[in-house]
Every structure is written in structure tokens, then in C-alpha cells.
Subunit: 346 residues, 4 copies
């Protein structure tokens, strides 16, 4: 931590800081320039953070040098991690295709979507039983009935299931059905939920908050990691900007930036970031060659009657084209698609 004193800081202002830092067991190095004094702090940075140094007399500027997330940082964990979800790897070496309906509506619709996904080479099934919706009048999901449908479809197709949990209260229930818990963009700073999924013993897919900086996203992951769970996959899904042509703005740079800062796998959701079917294919291609460890795609057998986000859902032929592109681009990136597991029922 570095403190730049104001031009009019007095010697006693400086001494006050040195004393305060030393009283907490830290060391303070004072450098005097022509017009300013700079104080470097060494010791327990999180302790320093609680001192409110910015509020002290004579302080101009305080810069924290070390990262605010440790467990998910690459600093002490240089190798990028692989997260296993029901036997399917996500991480360096592979490009994982996750596909399924935005919302679980009926057993038949879910099974059809899963079969579309599987036929195209997907190795994980997505599908929402609990849907956080901006409008209280929109379809909110089937709840536990939806979880049961997902479990049945997993049985029939062999695809492990990724599904969202929106309330800390429901984490154990959802975890009892799901292979991976998803935390959505609206809950990216719901810290009670982050802590609960951290303790649930299942891998977690953490979507970036639509207004979260990359640093805040990693701090959200740190909340999960602190509970002992490092099986976290980060998912870039677009941020909120002034542009209205797309639902959100896919921050493609976030993929290499987050991978450089954190050892966690990073995947991309091109369906929700663009919000338009015609963008899913180009954005998925871009994601793979930007280095994403996978993509998560909305599919629906009949998008025109979907209860949620129909305008962005792919149909079967789109998905085949997408899967074909992903396979070729994965090879270009020296990666491979994970193999589909044997049917559980088989």
C-alpha cells in the first residue's frame, strides 16, 4: 500500500500515519521528494484497509498494490485450473459446449432441447428452474418441479445439469439435483448466496454482474472460495453500457483479462449478452479464439413460444452450425471438445 501525502501535509500528519501503522504491527517507509512525501506500508494489507487512511489529515492518495482476492488470484497459483462437472472438464485444453433451454417449461420441451444440445456435441445441459426476472409479472420458473424435470432429462441423456439458484435458502435443495450451481448476473453481489454456494459442495458457475468490474467479479468469486470451494467457473455475459442495439455489451476482453488475473476457467454466454439469435454464432466464435474455456448457449425446440428469452434461443440447425464452428476453432486454439459421457441410463 502506498500513501501519497498532500502537498500541505505536516510532519505531524506524517508521524500520525507512521504511528498508526506501527501500532497495528506494520512497517511504514517514508520517502521525501521535493514537493511531496510518499509512505510505503508493509504488513497485513487487509488490516491496513480497515484503518481509513484516506480519512486522515494530510493524506492525498492511497493506492493498494496487492490484489483484493487471493484464493482465486493467479499470483500464488500460476497454473490455470480445470473444474470437473459430473466428469466433464472445463478449463485449459478443452472447449466445453453447454446448451439447453433458458427456462425449464415442460418435460418434453426440456428433453427436446437436451437432445438438440447432445446431438450437436454439448456435454453439459443448462436449464433454469428458478428464474430471476426483472418484472414480477414474468414467468418465474417451475421451482422444484423444474429440478425434477432436469434430473429426469439427465437420466435420459447422460448430460450433467447446470442450473441457477437465486436464494441462499434453496441452495441445498438445488444442489441435491444439480451437477453445477449457477449464480446469475443479478445476484453477483448477493453475498449470502455466494457464501451458501461456497459451502454446498458442488461446482459453481459465477456470472459476471452486468455492472461489475472484472476486479469486483473476482472478489465475488473470492466469497465462494473462502468457504472452501475452488471449483468455480467464471462466465462473462455482457455488461451494461449506453448501447441499445444489443441487450448488453459482451466484454470480450474480459476473457483474456480475467484469465491473466485468476486461475479459474472463464466461459462466455453469447445468448444473454447479445440477446439476439443472429449474434450467437459470431459471438461464440469470437469467444473461443479470445481464449474462452467454453460457451453456454440457449436452445429451444420452438423459440416463438418460449416462456423466457425466446428471441435469443437457437434452433437445431443453428446449433449444429455453431458446434461445427466451435470444433474447428477449438483445434485452432490447440484444444479439444470433451467427449460426451456414456448414457447414465445405458
Amino acid at each position: 500500500m502506498v500513501i501519497v501525502m498532500a502537498a500541505d501535509a505536516t510532519p505531524s500528519d506524517i508521524q500520525a500515519i507512521v504511528s498508526l501503522v506501527e501500532s497495528t504491527g506494520g512497517e511504514a517507509f517514508v520517502s521525501r521528494g521535493v514537493s511531496r512525501v510518499i509512505i510505503g506500508l508493509v504488513g497485513d494489507i487487509d488490516r491496513f484497509d480497515t484503518l481509513n487512511l484516506r480519512g486522515m489529515r494530510g493524506v492525498g492518495n492511497v493506492t493498494r498494490i496487492s490484489v483484493k482476492y487471493k484464493l482465486v488470484s493467479r499470483e500464488h497459483h500460476p497454473d490455470r485450473s480445470v473444474v470437473q462437472v459430473g466428469g466433464v472438464p472445463i478449463g485449459p485444453g478443452t472447449v466445453t459446449l453447454i446448451a439447453g433451454p433458458c427456462a425449464v417449461e415442460t418435460p418434453q420441451q426440456t428433453l427436446q432441447a437436451a437432445e438438440m444440445a447432445k446431438a450437436a456435441g454439448a456435454t453439459l445441459l443448462r436449464g433454469g428452474a428458478y428464474k430471476p426476472r426483472t418484472s414480477p409479472y414474468a414467468f418465474q420458473g417451475l421451482g422444484e418441479a423444474g429440478l425434477r424435470i432436469l434430473a429426469d432429462v439427465r437420466e435420459q441423456t447422460g448430460l450433467p445439469v447446470v442450473t441457477e439458484v437465486v436464494d441462499a435458502h434453496d441452495v441445498d435443495l438445488v444442489a441435491s439435483y444439480a451437477d453445477m450451481l449457477q449464480v446469475g448476473t443479478r445476484n453477483a453481489q448477493n453475498f449470502a448466496l455466494l457464501q451458501a454456494v461456497g459451502a454446498a459442495g458442488k461446482p459453481v458457475m459465477l456470472k459476471r454482474g452486468m455492472n461489475a468490474t472484472i476486479e469486483e467479479w473476482l472478489m465475488a468469486a473470492e466469497y465462494i472460495a473462502q468457504r472452501g470451494n475452488l471449483d468455480i467457473v467464471l462466465c462473462e455475459r455482457g455488461i451494461r453500457t449506453f448501447e441499445t442495439a444489443t441487450r448488453n455489451t459482451l466484454d470480450i476482453s474480459a476473457v483474456p483479462v480475467a484469465q491473466r488475473l485468476s486461475h479459474l476457467p472463464v466461459i462466455v454466454d453469447p445468448s444473454h449478452s447479445g440477446g439476439r439469435r443472429d449474434l450467437v454464432l459470431p459471438l461464440s466464435r469470437a469467444a473461443i479464439v479470445a481464449g474462452a474455456d467454453g460457451v453456454i448457449i440457449d436452445v429451444h425446440p420452438q423459440p416463438e413460444i418460449a416462456l423466457c428469452d425466446g428471441p435469443q434461443a437457437l434452433v437445431a440447425e443453428d446449433l449444429q452450425e455453431l458446434a461445427h464452428a466451435i470444433e474447428r476453432l477449438a483445434r485452432f486454439m490447440d484444444r479439444r471438445l470433451p467427449a460426451q459421457r456414456e448414457l447414465l441410463a445405458g
Copy 2:
């Protein structure tokens, strides 16, 4: 709801929409222009919203005309509401000063802050026992011990208590201590929490999400209202923009805009929006004359050792100056400050 068909829409595309709308009990009025066809829909708008009309062949554009929130809308409730909190009104006619520490740290610090607030004319005490913090390593609040401190300080000062709840699970506990429940900016789309506070039987202060449009903020309020609780106070606290000179950008226009759209009271948090002590006074003045029904202010007896947001906390003399300005500007706006209640202990 109005559908503008694409230039190349066919008669059968149009017929398909008319049939679909009629099959749900609605009416569709077709207007033919020279180059485009327009279809107006009349009936149950929320039902139409589920139809995924945008995904149908030949559809160019779908515009929803009616608002997406009903209970909090001013459309059918033209008079602006007054919300009572422990006998203190918030709404047209008054300007309510809410003050207190960002976080409850100790009984003494909380009592001192409350006495500062009371001496300056505040009629409600704010203070956080549960703190949602971006960093998992930051002080997270005292929890129930903090709630007990708040209750004791209420006993000693007579000031009703506003305090944040961050987890749906804790709503009943917090409601058993608090006079008003606060939902913070990071939970503005935590729908489980919104529903829980809606059912808790206490007034709610709903902070605007830092990335929420005004419309989304009102839909969040609608989640609370749907559970039967219309004692909601909206709190503008700054939105996230590209500007870094302030912590967030106070959207002062949101006060008159939200008051025009909704009957709910709207207050302003100048402490968290600016994040700087020197901005609290000018932003508070601006809030009052923009029409705000109150302001909520961070105070601390010793900001330099505050465990949370010290740089923005006012000290006693600042608060006196603020209170004096508010009183004069309230008169300018033909409003008054509510009277402080008699000491409960008295």
C-alpha cells in the same frame, strides 16, 4: 402493445399474429400503411408479453405502451403516498432527515452518532448491522449484536431505526428489531429478498440498483408491493457511470422522474453517491429542491477510525450546517421537517 411489421411481412405473417392474439382472448387491430403494417393489441398485456411476438416471422418491432409496474405506478393512484416509520412521516409535505453511522461498530459509537443526528434534527436513525461488502475481507457488520445495539440506542434517543437486511433468511429477525427495513443497491434485483421484505409487515427503503434504470427500480418495488406491502420508500443513491471523480454518479433527475411515474416517496443518499464528505452538503441541498422527500446521511463521531465508508461520514458541525440548510430549503419547497418524537424512555 403495438407491433410494427417488417417491410417484407406477408399476409400470412400478419394473420398468424392476429390468430395468436385472439387465441389468448385479446384483440388485434390491423392498420395498413403504404410500406408497413401496424398491429395494435388490446387485452391482457402481461399475457401478450409471454407470447414472444418479437420472435414471430415478419415482426419488425414490438412496443409495449403500458407500464410494467401497476401497484406502485401513479397511473391509478395519482396522489403521492406518505409512508409512516415509527410515527415519522416520509412523503409530500415533509422533508425527513435520516442520519446515523454507516455501520454499527460499538454501543458507544452508535449512541454518539445517534445523539449527533438527533441534535441536528434527524427523526430517524440509520445504521447497518449487516453490511454487504464488495471484498470478503472487509468488515461485514456485527449481525444480531448490532441489531441489539440499535434497539438500545432507539430506547435511549427515541429515534426509530432503519437498518439493512441482506438475506431473505434474516428478514424476520431484522424486522423484529427494526422500524424500517433497507434493501441495498447490490440487492436491488435479489427477488427472493424483495419478496421476503414485502411480507415482513414493516416499511421498506429500497435503494436503486447502481445499474438499474428507473423502470427497473420501480419493477423491483413492484415485487415488494405484490406481497401486500405498499409502505415503500425509494432511495436514489447514485448510478455507475464512467466518471471516477465520485464513487457513483448521483442521478438527481431520478427524483422528479420517479415521483412522476410512481406515488411512492423518493429520498436521496448523498453520502454513498458521492462517497466524499465535501459533497454531502451540496448534494443534499440539490436533493431537497429537486423535490426529494428526505435525505439519508452517514455520520460518525470519529470518521478516521470508521470501519466502513469513513471518508464520506459527516461529523457533528457538518451535520448542524446540513440540518440548517435542509430546514430553510424545506420551507422554500413548502414543506416542513417532521417533529422529533418524545423520548420512548421519557
Copy 3:
């Protein structure tokens, strides 16, 4: 300037920086902490800025401490400035009301608008002869014919004229008619134009770029000041954010923030920031008590047929109400409205 070296910086990396800084006549102070080295630079900061220190081996982070604008900074010019426009002061002590039509359309419309402005107490007339329009098919202004109309109306009403210039080429022409040159939001980083108005010998109103940080706005002002012109008035007119309920988001905090950083007067344009007539009055009130040195308001005798921005123009009765509020709030702020000058023609 402070350089924080990366954790893996080598002694020769550090030496390379010290040598480079010293070779340019600067001094480098090296502080060694436990895990990092910090180097403080003293000397010609702008020279250091050209060194590309961030690009050198072993550099983690470079922080510039001193401001990037000198002439407009308050650091060496602590007293806030007053800018005189045709005898009308803008600055501390006064609240200046500038009003007039967004665009000059006809002599009659301009005169009527000016008379409305004058009757309400305005002391400066605004009006655009050159209009920068997002659409090439929108009305682009009358050009020099518009300038002549403005000069005639000044003759008839005695109100000095503020008008926009959009091309460096036209600066001398516009300056020959105008009392104050306006640089619009879309030209806030048109450096050729900034330099030209800096050399034109007339006061300048510099609108904030709708995507400019406050620091960038002050650097734009520095471009003008560098040419010897310090008669600059800053005008906050809203920034671009995700919110769509208003045309732009008025950044009310920018008023006190810019006044603290710069000695230049700061006014507010509530008409263009909100883009809605119903917001002009509350935003103007907010501007005054946030400390603005004036407001600039669109008025039109018949907004419904205005060629530009009709939806935000005030009519006569609105303007009277506004002027009355400004007068009372100016008194609250210990300021006064400047007196209207005698009619030039009188």
C-alpha cells in the same frame, strides 16, 4: 509520479528506470518494501509522461500525482474567477440566467424568445446559428444569417449573445457577432476548435463532452487557456449513461467537484441534460444550490413548431416561475442576479 515495481522486478530493471529518469534531469527515490520496490520521481512531470515508463521491464503501476491541467487548476490560483460577458459577470457572487432559443429560426421567433428571456430576468441571450446535429437530415442552423438575427436582437433587447461555433474555420466570423463563443458537447475534444476559440479574444463557454470525465473536461479547457484565453465558463450538460428516461444524466456532483479543482465558473444546462420540459425547473433549482454560477435555458415562443429540441423548451410562464425560484435560491446561496444592462439602443 510514483512507480510501483512488479513483484518480480530485478535490480537492473530498477536501475534502468533510475538512469532514464536521471538522464532527463529528474530525480528518482527508491524505497524498498518487503515484497515490492517503489520509485518516486521528482522533476518535470510532463517530460516523464513522454518516457513510456509503463512500457519498461519490471514496472507494475505508474501513478501521476500532479494534475494534468495547470492554467485552469485551482492549485496555483485559489480564488475562483469571474468571467465578464458583454458586461455581465459569471462567477462567485452571482447567479447568471442565460436563456434563448435552441436554434435561431426567424427574426420574429428569436426576438420573442429574447423578450421572454429578458422579461424573466435573463442577462444573456443564447441562440444557435450553427447546429451540430446527429442526423445529417436535421435542421443545421441558418449560419451567418442567424448570426445577423442575433446581432439585431441584441440591438433591440440589450442582451449580449452566446452562440455556438462548430468549425475552427468559422471562429473569426462567429466572434465578430458574438459576445461569447460556445463549444458544444460533440466538439469537446475537437482540439483544433478549442485552440481557435482560445485565440479569438472572446469569452468561451465550454460544454462538457457527454463522455468526458471531469479531468478530461478540464484538459479541454486547458487547450483554450494555453492560447492565452482564461475567460472560460464550464457548462455541465449531462453525461451519457445507461439510463434512458432522460436524454442524458445530469451529473450534479460535477458542479462542486469542478469548482474545487478549477478556478473557472461552472454553470448548468438543465434543458439539454434532461431533454424534458418538466425537468427544467427542478434541475435548475438543484443546480443553483449545488453551487452553479448560472444556468442556461432553452425557451421558445411556440415549442411545438420548434426546429430543434422543442420538447425541452420552456414557454413564458414556465420561465417566470424558473426566474422567481432562481432569485430566491440565489439569495439562499448569498448570491445575487446580475442587473440587466441598459438597452443598447436606448
Copy 4:
């Protein structure tokens, strides 16, 4: 154009609109629903736009259906265009690599950078002689001396030259040296400049304003096209958002979105959007497979002493790796790199 009347609009409000529209030669179709009336307008849309319909009594909402740009729209020009620059094509079928120094500093630095570019397969040379810089104290470019250097280097390498013009005044001078004129992000709404380059008889590269929506970007292109010049290449270079990890946020979706709306070629500038050398390669790859018609890259023989944007410049080996990736991904997209022209001097 569609007008949705307010719920309380009267028959005379409706009649007033119909009369106004008919008086301008248009037609108005009135549709009555249960709670609202909708009026569809047919005729000269730009004429309607001047009518200020939003300002009329009883009007709730006005939606413009047709695009605000005609000449650059794909609506009447479905085939995507190819723009020729000194014999080098930019458009569908090819992926064009443009490279060179951000700023022209010396003849030697420019020649070395051009040779690096050429060796890697670039077919156009970029380089700035006029640099728009946020700080007035930053290097502003060599001006005409820089143009002469560029012309000499073109002579030596055979690479046609793309260079920025920042002042309408300089357009003829710059056009006498350049093969393509660049309009930078800060001038994206400098309409005088747009019109001047539109009349200069040279192809234009139009960078997206960092705060411009895609629609506004296309309207800026329309300004150029209106002067008879359709040889326009759009360049996405990142938009301003709240994220600070990158200089700007590359809006990768803008590539397919702009290509769907406009027939003009769209290229990407990964150097300026990310502002970091380590992002140039992944963002370039993403650009190609998102469908970009080319990329424009900063290179420098010695980035650590660059006078402008050194942190993002590639060195020779980076550029080779980039060129190799582009070639392979171009093939994946069924495109090819244009051949380098014979040396002009040869």
C-alpha cells in the same frame, strides 16, 4: 412513424395531428383500441421529424420506424461494399491487415515500423502526423513533416498510407499525401470535418465515437456519404464503459450488428480498444471470426520510447504471430488476405 396517443388524448388532439400531417403532404391512419389511439404516418419521414410531434398535446409516444441513414443503409443496398484503398480491397472476401506506428516520430522509426508491417503481410500502412491528444501537453504530431515522411515510406515500401485528419481545414493537405483519410473517435461528431472528408475524393476510415451508439456511428457515416463519398470503412475501436481494466471496451458485437445495418466494410482496432499489448492478439482473432473485414494494429520498433501509446504497440515477433493467426482465421471465414502490391519504386 407511429404515434401512440396518451390515455387522456381528446378527439381534437387527434384531429390536430391528422391535420398537421396532411398539411405537409403526408397521410395519417388512425386506429382506435380500447384504451388508446394509434396514428400511423406515411409520407416524407424527415419532414415529419421536423414537426415536433412529441411536443403536441395528447401525444404519448412517437416511434420512428425507418432508419435515419439511407445512403449507408443496407436496406436499399443489400450487397456489402468493397472499398479500394490504393489498390487494396477492404470488404467481404478479404481480411485486410493495416499496421504501422501510432504516431510518425522520425523517418527511421516510421520506415522500420512499415517494414515490420510489410514483413508480416500488412497491405496498408497506418501512421499519425496529426494526433488528437486529451492533454494539451502531450505530443501532438509532426504535422506536414509527418505526412512527407509517410509519403517517403510509401515510396520505399509500396504500402498505401492511412492517416488521420483532425481539422476540416487540413483535409485537402492531408488528402494530397494520403491514400485514405482517418477520422478519429474524438471527431466522430465533428460534422464540419465529416463533410470535408466527404468532399475530398479519398476513401475514409471512420472510427466509432467512444460514446456513439451504432446508430449514431452510421449517421456520422451518412454525413460523409451525403457529400458523394461512399468509400467509407467503419472502424470499431472500443466504447467508454465503467470498466477500467482496459482503456475502452471493445464492442465486438458491433461488427455483425453494423454489417447487418450497413453495406459498408467494418474493421476493428484492437490496439486502441484494449490499450494493452497482451490483448492485441486475442482481440484481433476475435475480430476476424466475428466477421471483421480487417484489423488495424499499432506497431513500433521500440515501444518503450514511443511518443504515443507505446504500451499497446506490437513489436516484430508479436506481429508475425498475429499475421499468422489472421491468415489461418481468414481461411476459416472463407476469406483471403489481399496480396501486397508491387513496390511503387520497383
